[in-house]
Symmetry: C2
Subunit: 436 residues, 2 copies
C-alpha cells in the first residue's frame, strides 16, 4: 500500500468557491494497493478533501494498513460486505467515528481501491462488474446493521430480482445514450455575471438541460444571479440552487421563498448536513412551492440517509462516492432510496468524484432503480485531465466507461507534480496557500 | 504546542470491555499549549480514544496548530465562542467533518486546553470559572448556528438569568456535598459473576446508589448478570444497562423488554448513535415499561443532540467531554437539554473523562439546570493516579475540585512512561497489542 497526499492549487482561481468553502484546494488522499501477482495490476482509490487536513486522511488510511495488507484479494472479492465490516468494525479504530468523518473517508479510499483492483482483475469497468452481480451477491455487499427498521435484506433482494429480466435492455440503452448529467460549472460564487452568462451558453451548446448555482452568501446577489441563469436557460430547463449548509431552518425557508419565482427544482444543503429534522421542516415548508430539498454530499453514512428518507426530508438523494464508506455503502443508500421512491442524484466535482459517480449511477439505473425519472448526476468540468481514463460527457450525458476498474487511476506525472508539499506544482505555487 | 500520543495497555486486563469495544487500550491525544509568559503556566487538554487511531487524532490536532499558536490568550478569553468558530470553521479543514469525528475530537482537545489555561490564569477550577460568568457571557460561548429552531440566544439568556439569584446557594451546597455519581466499575462484560458481586458490595460500601451494567453480547448472560446486580443492590437503588450500540431498532426493544422485570432506569446506547429516529422509536416502545433511553457518548455534536431532544428520543442526555467540541459545545447541549427539561448525565470513564465532567456537572447544576432531579454523573475508578489533581469521590459523590484549571494535567512521569510507542510501558508490554 502506498498512500499519497495529492493537492491541486485550485484556490488560486476561485473555481469551486461557495458560501461555506471559500478557497478550496481540491485534494485527494490517494492510495495504491498492489499485490504479489506478476501482471503489475494495482488498485487505486482516493478520498476527496479540499486542502488542509488531507494529511489527516492520509494518516487515517495508514491506520487501516494492517487490516488490508497481507490479505488475499479473494478475502475481499468473495465476501466484500464482510470485508467492509472488517475495516469499519475494528474494535479500537471504531471509536474515531463510528463510520463518519476522517476515518470513514479513509475507509472509502481503501474500499474503492479494492473495487478498482477487482474490476481490473475481471477486466470490467466498475458499473459492469456491479451490474453482473446477482441480487443475492448485491445484498451481500451491504452492512445491514442499523438498517432493518427501514429495509431488510429480503426486501432488497426482492426489489433487485424484479429488475433482473430488464437489466440487459437498460445496459444497452446506457451504452448507446449515457446517463444524464447536470452542470455546476457556471454557478460558482466567485464568478462575475458576465462569466455566468457565457458559461450558461457554453453548457447549453454542450447539451445540458440542468444548471446549478451556488447561493447563500448575499440574498440580493442571489436573486440577480438566479435571474441571469433562468433568463439564459429559458423556462423549460431545470435550475437548481445550492446553499452549502449556510442557513438555520427558518432562514432556509425564508431565503428559498425569495427565489421561488425563478422555479428552482431543488434547494441543496439548506442547513446542517446532520439535521434530519431540520431538513424535514424545510421540505414541508417548500413543498407547496414545488421546490424539493436535496442533500447528501456531507451526509456521513447510511444511517443518516435512512433517516432523511424515513422523515421525508429529501426529494433528491445526493450520495458522495468517498464520504460514504465506498461502493458498498453507496449501494446500501441506493437500495434505501429505491425503497422510498426517491431518486439518487450523486454529488460530484472536486477531483475524481465525477469519475466515481458515473459508474454508480449506471449501476443504479441498470439494477436498482430501473428509472431515469428525476435523475441527473452532477458534472463539473475540472481536473479530469489528470486521470488515465477520465469521464466522457456527450450531449450532457456521461458516456458509459469502457476501461476496467473505477476510472480513478491518475497519471503518474500528475501524481508526482501534485504531491504535497514537495511536488513541482507546490514548490513553485505563488503563496503556497495550503501550506502551513 | 506539544502534542503527545499517550496510551495505557488496558486491554491486558479487560477492564472497559463491552459489547462493541472488546479490547480497549485507553488512550489520549494529549496537547500542551504554552505561552511566552514568565510563570510557566500551560494549558493541558486531551481527546480520549481507545488505542489504535490515537495517532490520527494527534495528526488532526497538529492540523489545528496554525489556527491556535501565535494568537494572544485574550483572543480566546475575550471571545471564546468566536474563537471556537475560528477553529471549527476553517474553510478547508471543515470538509473533514464538519464538526464530527476525528477533527472534532481534535477541536475538543485544543479548546479544552485553552479553558485549562484560562482557569489556571484566573486561579479557578473550570466549574468556578464558568459559574462566575454572566448569562450574557455564557450565551457567547455557544455557536448558535443550526440551533435556533430549538433554542435562541435570547431564550437561553432568560433561562440563565432566572437562576442567577440562587447560584450562590447551589455553589455552597456543591462545595459541601459534591455532585451525585454512579459507578460502572462492577459491570464490564469481561468480569465473572463473583467479581460482579464483590464489586457491587464494594460500591455499596462506598455510598453509590446507581449501578450500571454492560449488556448486549448474550441475552441469557445478560438476564443472569442483571439479576445478580439487582439482588446485590436491592429494589430501591437504581440499575442501568448499556448496550453500546449493539442492536437494530426492533432488537433493542425486544432485548430490553426481556430485562424489564429487573426495573432498569435506562437503556443506554441501544442502537447507532446516529439514529435519532431509531432512538425515538425505541423510547416510545419502552416508555410504558418505565425504562428511559439514554445516549450521547458517541453523539457527534450539538445538532444531533438538538434532534434527540426535539424527537423525544432520550430521557437522559449523556454528553461526552471530548467528543463534543470541548466546553463550549457541552454548554450548548446543557442549555438545549434544560430547554427540553431533560437531565444531563455525562458519560465518563476511560482516561480523563471523569476529571472533565465533574466540572461540567457542577456548572450545569449551579447555572443551567438548577436541579439534581434524575441527575447522576458516571464514575469509573480507573487511571486517576496519573493526574496531578485527580477527581475525588466521597459517599458516591464527586467532590468539587479546588485546583485551578480542568483537572486534566497528567503527571510528567505518566506522560513519559505511556508515550506510544517509545515509552517504557510500551517498550516492555507483553504482546504490545496496540502496535501495528
Amino acid at each position: 500500500m502506498r498512500v499519497l497526499d495529492i493537492r491541486f492549487p485550485t484556490s488560486l482561481s476561485l473555481a469551486g468557491s461557495d458560501a461555506m468553502n471559500k478557497d478550496p484546494d481540491y485534494s485527494a488522499a490517494y492510495v495504491v494497493i498492489s499485490t504479489d501477482r506478476d501482471d503489475g495490476i494495482e488498485g487505486h482509490g482516493l478520498a476527496f478533501t479540499i486542502g488542509r487536513g488531507n494529511d489527516v486522511v492520509v494518516a487515517a488510511i495508514e491506520a487501516l494498513r494492517d487490516l488490508t495488507i497481507g490479505q488475499e484479494v479473494s478475502a475481499f472479492t468473495s465476501a466484500p460486505g464482510a470485508f467492509w465490516k472488517h475495516l469499519t468494525g475494528d474494535s479500537q479504530l471504531r471509536w474515531l467515528g463510528p463510520e463518519k468523518g476522517v476515518i470513514h473517508m479513509a475507509t472509502a479510499a481503501v474500499v474503492n481501491a479494492l473495487w478498482d483492483l477487482w474490476g481490473k482483475l475481471e477486466g470490467k469497468p466498475l458499473w459492469k462488474l456491479l451490474s453482473d452481480l446477482s441480487p443475492a451477491r448485491i445484498v451481500e455487499l451491504v452492512d445491514w446493521r442499523y438498517l432493518t427498521d427501514a429495509l431488510t435484506p429480503d426486501e432488497a433482494q426482492a426489489m433487485l430480482e424484479r429488475l433482473v429480466p430488464t437489466r440487459a435492455a437498460r445496459e444497452n440503452e446506457m451504452l448507446r445514450d449515457g446517463y444524464p448529467a447536470y452542470t455546476t460549472s457556471a454557478g460558482w460564487l466567485g464568478y462575475s455575471d458576465e462569466k455566468i452568462r457565457r458559461l450558461c451558453r457554453e453548457a447549453l451548446a454542450d447539451g445540458f438541460n440542468h444548471f446549478k448555482l451556488k447561493v447563500g452568501a448575499d440574498q440580493a446577489d442571489d436573486v440577480r444571479r438566479v435571474a441571469i441563469v433562468r433568463e439564459e436557460i429559458g423556462p423549460s430547463r431545470s435550475l437548481m440552487v445550492d446553499a452549502n449548509q449556510r442557513w438555520d431552518v427558518a432562514q432556509a425557508i425564508e431565503w428559498t421563498r425569495a427565489l421561488a419565482s425563478f422555479k428552482p427544482l431543488w434547494i441543496e444543503e439548506p442547513t446542517s448536513p446532520d439535521d434530519v429534522l431540520g431538513h424535514a421542516a424545510i421540505a414541508r415548508a417548500l413543498e407547496p412551492l414545488g421546490i424539493g430539498v436535496a442533500t447528501g454530499e456531507h451526509c456521513q453514512n447510511r444511517v443518516v440517509f435512512k433517516q432523511l428518507l424515513q422523515a421525508k426530508a429529501i426529494a433528491y438523494c445526493q450520495i458522495d462516492a468517498c464520504r460514504l464508506g465506498g461502493v458498498n455503502e453507496v449501494v446500501a443508500v441506493q437500495l434505501l432510496a429505491a425503497k422510498f421512491g426517491i431518486p439518487v442524484c450523486p454529488h460530484a466535482g472536486g477531483v475524481g468524484l465525477c469519475e466515481y459517480v458515473q459508474h454508480e449511477s449506471l449501476f443504479d439505473y441498470i439494477c436498482v432503480s430501473g428509472s431515469l425519472a428525476g435523475r441527473v448526476t452532477e458534472f463539473v468540468d475540472h481536473l479530469h485531465e489528470h486521470f488515465v481514463a477520465p469521464c466522457v460527457l456527450r450531449n450532457g450525458r456521461y458516456q458509459a466507461p469502457r476501461a476496467a476498474g473505477t476510472s480513478i487511476t491518475m497519471k503518474p506525472a500528475s501524481l508526482a507534480e501534485h504531491t504535497f508539499p514537495d511536488g513541482s506544482v507546490w514548490r513553485h505555487a505563488p503563496g503556497r496557500r495550503t501550506e502551513r
